[in-house]
Amino acid sequence: MLRHVLFRLAGSLPTLLLVSLLVFCLLRLMSGDPAALLVGDLASAEELQRVRAQLGLDQPLPLQYLAWLNTVLHGNLGVSLMTDQPVLPTLLHRFGVTAQIVLPAFVIAAMLAVPAGILAARLQGRAADSAIVLLATLTISMPSFWIGMLLILLFGVELGWLPTMGFAPISNGFTVWAEHAVMPITTLALIETAILVRLIRASAIEVLRQDYVDYARAKGLGERTILLRHVLRNVLSPTVTMLGLILGSLLSGTTVTETLFGIPGLGSFLVEAIYARDYPTIQGTLLFVILLYTAINLAIDLLYPLIDPRVRLR
């Protein structure tokens, strides 16, 4: 197992290097000058050049890349062009904020979607199935900002139960965290539940049509046993893959939800950096996101043998 993990991690290094180079090149292909954004319409072209030189943007591109790579190898991801702050601590802080919203939403979505999807598949064509599918379709059709805004208007403005925006870390106390987090978590959980329900339902219908399910029924096994022992286990493989992708996507930023609720998370951090052409921040954040995906994919791969004994780690 450890060998496998180390092998996979080592294997991801060339990918990271390539992706970092690609990100660097793509960013430099984008028009827009960070120095221009810093000085605005206040300064002259000479001042603009001075700021560019100060930021190291007048250096040849290969040198800029190597300088950035050097900072990465020293583990600090460079300094933000906009705020003059080291990128890594800010990035980790922002990631922590996002994780405190995303992880509960993810767990809630998974807990709701798995039973609902399997139930809908089991009762395919009946009223319960139609209701679940209808709810899921409706939820998927609603943009997250709209769901969020409805929650804000109802629970924040009309009822006055919850703070309409902002974030309190869990270290400030569970209650104050929950007050601030419940609406963004609900917004994310609703959307992700709807996506997962549809996926799990489709997988479960497929599994329920397999011969071994008929065989299990013919053997006289109870429906509950069939669902839990045979159907759920076979549905889990594609579900876990999807869960991994969803988790990676959520953890790398939920920009719309963060913007709406004023949450200083990773998504809004990246978007602000893109608007500001803050190259070290964009590059550092994207590198971090790639690492995150690699780690989640690895974790999913390690989970497969536990779910499906036919899968073996090589």
Binding site: L37, D41, S44, Q54, T90, G160, F174, P264, Y275
Partner: protein, 523 residues
């Protein structure tokens, strides 16, 4: 599953056990800002929100009054000597920095030396080092006595104080404790009515009342006068979405949202009328929206073509469409709220599509595509572009809009890479400073739009204008010349609409478009 049930139960229990979320407390005013501040280093790492927060914390020798003239702030008096080449500032008695140290001429000189040091990165250094408009340069900063400091200039300047009062530059007088031993920035140890207590990056910045603040005797006036901190704390909360911020204000969790989207004004007015729990505050700002015309372009190099476009574009109509009727057109760089805006400045090629067509044909226009650059970051620039496109199309021009993100459009502006550009100049307190932004030799700076030698000479005379009458005459001449040459087309001065809770008293929007929270009380 049991743990999951417990977690859900715990969340619900926690929510049920908590009372309604805390409203903003009476001793704290909460203001929504749409992005975090960039730093606490005034005039160095800055943007509009940074300036707004910091002018509650730091002060300069002089500041803008409500009527946009410049008045003393830390200074007790300002003397002009040696034919306007020497400015002598006498400091008010009893002034203290946030660390308790007295404010003396030494700190004034230290602060200015730091600003003029290239290593500091002060954004407005070129206003004072001979590289800026009219090559104005501070030749020496001298300590006259404990409370008096004087600035020796290379030439008489009527605009020196206006530059010194510039809000974007914030020529803050700071205590040397503001920087570390290696001269890196620590925190602002200034003289303002509030000081920084806590900055939670990405979330909020909390200012607390400075108990030893020495207010001026005159009533509050612009950014000067009596700046009395009426509440103990100001909290600027980062709320990127204006509509969420508005909902927070309705819920009583925010007290002020400034610069609301103009398309929300009708709804806000209805709320103000029906419920009376909010107030709308409106003002015309000094921000000036324009259509830039690239005179290096083959077509637009011909003044007849530029005049043709001016005849086709009605600034009043564009203002009406883009601001929902909140602003009037203004083709002059002299802002509507300026005391120098006279009837002369309302003169402009009149809206006449037939004349536009005639002039365009005369200038050799044969239906070539005219491209307007715009962006959606600043919605008004896009809206202006759409309105202009419609007006130009109606006059027979072939126009398309190219939408970029702001970073790209701004880079194009600096490089002069545009044909037409829907743009906006940020607030300049004095019209001459705005003219200085776009008047000059284009071969030297692509950002200059008007390379007319006569205009440049007039602008130099403005720098030396000794009185308002001379200034008025020069500004009138500048506009008259601009009307003939149409180097750009002025559209309107941006209106600003701020929204407050009805529990906030004494708040006023004003021409600089950014909130001032001293003198504001809360029930």
């Amino acid at each position: 599953m049991a743990e999951a049930k417990f977690a859900v139960a715990a969340i619900l229990a926690a929510l049920l056990c908590t009372s309604a979320p805390a409203k903003a407390a009476p001793d704290e005013i909460r203001v929504a800002i749409n992005s975090d501040i960039l730093s606490t280093n005034p005039g160095v790492l800055r943007d509009g929100n940074t300036d707004t927060v910091l002018y509650h914390v730091v002060e300069a020798l002089v500041a803008y009054r409500e009527d946009l003239s410049v008045g003393p702030l830390l200074a007790e008096s300002v003397e002009l000597l040696e034919d306007g080449r020497l400015y002598r500032f006498r400091l008010r008695a009893g002034l203290r920095f946030h660390n308790g140290a007295p404010v003396t001429a030494r700190e004034v000189k230290w602060s200015w030396d730091r600003m003029l040091d290239p290593a500091t990165g002060f954004r407005c250094r070129e206003f004072y080092d001979g590289r800026g408009a009219n090559a104005l340069k501070i030749e020496a900063i001298e300590i006259f006595d404990e409370r008096t400091v004087q600035f020796r200039l290379n030439q008489p300047s009527a605009l020196f104080l206006d530059r010194m009062a510039n809000v974007q530059c914030q020529t803050a007088i700071l205590h040397p404790d503001s920087v570390a031993a290696d001269r890196s920035w620590r925190e602002p140890v200034g003289t303002g009515p509030y000081r920084v207590r806590e900055w939670r990056r990405g979330e909020s910045i909390l200012l607390e009342r400075f108990a030893d603040y020495v207010a001026r005797d005159e009533p509050m006036d612009g950014l000067t006068g009596a700046k009395i901190a009426a509440v103990d704390k100001l909290r600027f909360v980062v709320a990127p979405d204006r509509m969420s911020a508005k909902a927070s204000l309705y819920a009583g969790q925010i007290d002020l949202v400034f610069a609301m989207p103009l398309n929300a004004v009708a709804e806000l007015a209805q709320r103000e009328r029906n419920r009376g729990d909010v107030h709308i505050h409106r003002a015309d700002t000094l921000d000036w929206t324009v259509l830039l015309l690239q005179s290096n372009d083959k077509l637009l190099a011909d003044p007849r073509m530029r005049r043709a476009i001016a005849h086709a574009v009605s600034s009043d109509l564009v203002a009406e469409i883009s601001t929902f009727g909140l602003a009037r057109g203004n083709s002059s760089a002299v802002q509507r709220s300026s005391r120098f805006h006279t009837a002369v400045h309302d003169g402009w090629p009149k809206f006449d599509p037939d004349e536009a067509r005639r002039l365009a044909i005369e200038a050799g226009y044969r239906g070539d595509v005219l491209t307007i650059q715009a962006n959606r970051r600043f919605a008004y620039m896009f809206d202006n572009a759409v309105a202009i496109q419609a007006l130009l199309t109606a006059a027979g021009f072939n126009v398309r809009i190219e939408v970029f993100d702001w970073a790209t459009q701004l880079s194009n502006f600096f490089a002069g890479k545009f044909q037409l550009s829907s743009f906006g100049y940020s607030a300049r307190s004095h019209p001459a400073l705005l003219y200085g932004n776009f008047t000059g030799d284009k071969k030297l700076r692509a950002t200059f739009q008007w390379s007319d030698p006569v205009a440049m000479e007039l602008l130099q005379q403005v720098e030396r204008a000794g009185d308002d009458a001379t200034m008025q005459s020069l500004l009138d001449q500048l506009h008259t010349r601009m009307r003939e040459q149409v180097p750009l087309i002025g559209l309107y001065n941006d209106p600003v609409v701020d929204l407050t809770r009805a529990t906030l008293h004494g708040y006023r929007s004003w021409a600089l478009g950014r909130p001032r929270l001293w003198g504001v009380t809360k029930d």
